[in-house]
């Protein structure tokens, strides 16, 4: 099967995840298959949960060095991930105006936002807030910091689409490439762990246990027709829609069927499915839809059971999970993987990838 001329390909990627920093940590972690969960240090993380999937030992200043005193965790995760990706494929730093960044988020940093509001509410004067924190309390800060660190002056977008954000980001990236607004797009998502995010999620889900995760995954994306290196995967289709009637299973199935049709594929060709792995109602319906279409025997790659509920970066980690299969051996080369995602807001998405050859 040939790629359509307007398909996009992933030519490189990196991740900073609960498995550690860099692509190899992620692929090794997936291969070992042991959940990267740890007991939280309550002195550092004053949240409702006992356990979480944190990026081990990740402290911004230790990872990125001086000049990052004010930088929040989500920006640190993004800057680290983009840096790893660039080191691996553009060590001479030739990318500039022709390179775009598209980064998914949920709320930027709840922690930075609430730190400013708390300072205003509790300070001696209502404007006694730390000025160096101000840019970090705006959602586009992580993407803007990546641009500053690596001199990337192309389009710089931050977007939010719930758990399917990583898929929507691919769709946005494809549009930038098709319209000639960038030659390549560094596309992905980032989510930090914080006590504030954990408390918000605790209340939003109505209490009870949950294991939250964090991290960032970023992909270098180019048009198939213009790619300069052998792709690690071809994005055959991305389809996203909105569930407004609560029938998540039907809407997931619709997205999957449309993605298959757009990719010119049928279910029998799909060798694995990679759902959001969410435990909520939409997440369960998503699995049922996949079982209905691909049968009960299809391998299900559940990345959430390894790295927790990662919200905005969830579907980007699912893509990374699919790509890591290429690194594990030749048997998945050229095979199709279906990635799906749902979000209680109504967002539903599916992406069909054809994996490339191992390098």
């Amino acid at each position: 099967m040939m790629s359509a001329p307007d398909n996009i390909v992933i030519t490189a990627w990196s991740a900073v995840s609960p498995f550690g920093i860099g692509q190899k940590s992620f692929t090794d972690g997936v291969a070992i298959g042991r959940p990267a969960v740890s007991v939280l240090d309550r002195a550092r993380w004053d949240g409702p949960d006992e356990r979480a999937c944190l990026v081990p030992g990740f402290e911004v200043r230790e990872v990125l060095g001086k000049g990052t005193r004010a930088m929040n965790r989500v920006a640190g995760l993004a800057v680290t991930t983009v840096g790893r990706l660039i080191e691996s494929v553009d060590p001479g730093r030739t990318w500039a105006e022709d390179t775009a960044i598209v980064l998914g988020t949920s709320t930027g940093s709840s922690q930075s936002t609430m730190d400013i509001i708390r300072a205003s509410l509790t300070g001696e004067r209502p404007y006694d807030v730390e000025p160096s924190l101000v840019p970090y309390a705006v959602m586009n800060c992580a993407a803007g910091q990546c641009a500053i660190w690596y001199g990337l002056k192309g389009p710089n977008a931050t977007l939010a689409a719930g758990r399917p954000t990583g898929l929507t980001a691919l769709s946005y990236a494809r549009r930038l490439l098709l319209t000639g607004r960038a030659k390549r797009v560094l596309c992905g998502a980032a989510e930090e762990y914080s006590a504030d995010r954990a408390w918000i999620d605790f209340h939003a889900r109505g209490g009870g246990d949950a294991i939250l995760g964090e991290g960032c995954a970023v992909f270098a994306v180019e048009l198939a027709s213009a790619a300069t290196t052998e792709p690690v995967a071809t994005v055959l289709a991305v389809d996203s829609r909105s569930c407004v009637d609560g029938d998540w299973q039907a809407m997931t199935a619709r997205c999957v069927q449309r993605a298959l049709a757009a990719g010119g594929s049928d279910p029998a060709e799909v060798r694995a499915v990679c759902p959001s792995g969410s435990a909520d109602t939409p997440g369960q319906a998503e699995r049922a839809a996949l079982a209905g279409i691909f049968g009960p025997g299809v391998p299900v790659w559940d990345v959430a059971e390894l790295i927790g509920e990662t919200h905005a970066v969830c579907s980007a980690f699912q893509i990374a999970r699919a790509l890591s299969a290429v690194e594990h051996g030749r048997e998945m080369a050229g095979r199709l993987v279906m990635i799906t995602s749902t979000d209680t807001s109504g967002a539903v998405g599916a992406a069909l990838l054809r994996l490339g050859e191992s390098r």
Partner: protein, 416 residues
Amino acid sequence: MPRVAPRSSRRSPADRVVITGLGVFSSIGIGREEFVEGLRQGRSGVKPIRSFDTTGYAYANGCEITDFEPARWIKRVPLAELGRASQFSAAAARMAMEDSGLSEEDLRADRGHISIGTTDGESTDFDQITAMEVASGRESMDPVLARRLSANRLSAAVARELDLTDVEMETLATACSAGNYSIGNGYDVIRTGEAKFALCGGADAFCRKTFTAFYRLGTIAPEYCQPFDKNRKGILTGEGAGVVMLESLESAMARGARIYSEVLGYGLNCDGHHPVAPNQAGVARCIEIALADAGVEPEDVDLISAHGTGTKANDVTETRAIRDIYAGRLPRTISLKSMLGHTMGAASSLAAIACSLAITEGFIPPTINHVETDPECQVDCVPNHSVPADLRIVQNNGLAFGGNNAVVVLGKYEED
């Protein structure tokens, strides 16, 4: 003077994108007609802030919307499930749809796209949930608020309210240029054939966090916002929403739709320079990209709607960047923020709507509160009173924290 037609006139109607519906919530008027009157009269949206306790600030004016009645517009989604920014988004999208002459049934028949730009998402809810925590501990946060906080809720609210399923939706969180990002994205969505219609714009709700942040940075004006004025003292924060209906010219012609303006093109780039300060070279480059994308030359542009925040740094940097591209022939350059305040993620979408109305109604909205033009800015900002004008091509600037520049070029649609 002979005028060169923009490049779009050489494209097929299927490859041209027009604005056919407007949804407006602003501090100077709700809905197209009130907004036009506000722009024409040079109305000011400034009032003392009422939405949070301003004790302890030396001054606290802002541009709040005091007559927003969400229940008038939001018919399907329970209001308690939507924060104020989501309510603005859904209400403005419904208004844009109704204004375009399309119905929910029409929209359901086709593939669509929803993108809403924002700076702060559900900022009012963040203020409230933090206040609850401060008052009674983290265990006391309201679950209803907790469920509303994700920024993607703004665009999802539009789909839920209009009962649309075959739509891709995203919230573009590119801060204060997000409205232009969103309109540019919609332009591409239509031209790539991904969707038949796109509801695009921006929304933000008034909040303590943003007011306080700008206040701390020393960029809040004590009384008025005076862009380009020698004695300008900064911004006034505001709120609102602007959402437009985008479709191809072919689609608009086929149904006999009213066309407010044509999106001729746009440019995006990133300064990659500083987290908050604008960069002259970056802004100039973005203007250049946008004009090239639209296929127009600087001398074809009749009006610039500037980002024009009214801070010392923005107005000097932005006008210098404009001058870099326009040399000695600057078109009139206005700032709507003098009237609307800085509505953050809504700002450039409300400005795009104002530009579209300026084109159709034949006038240039003024820059109000203007006393003496700063010699360092040197623009004809159409001080204080609107003027009649036949506008064919208008450039709408959006700049943002993070160096996220977005410039949209709009044109008058004239039948061949």
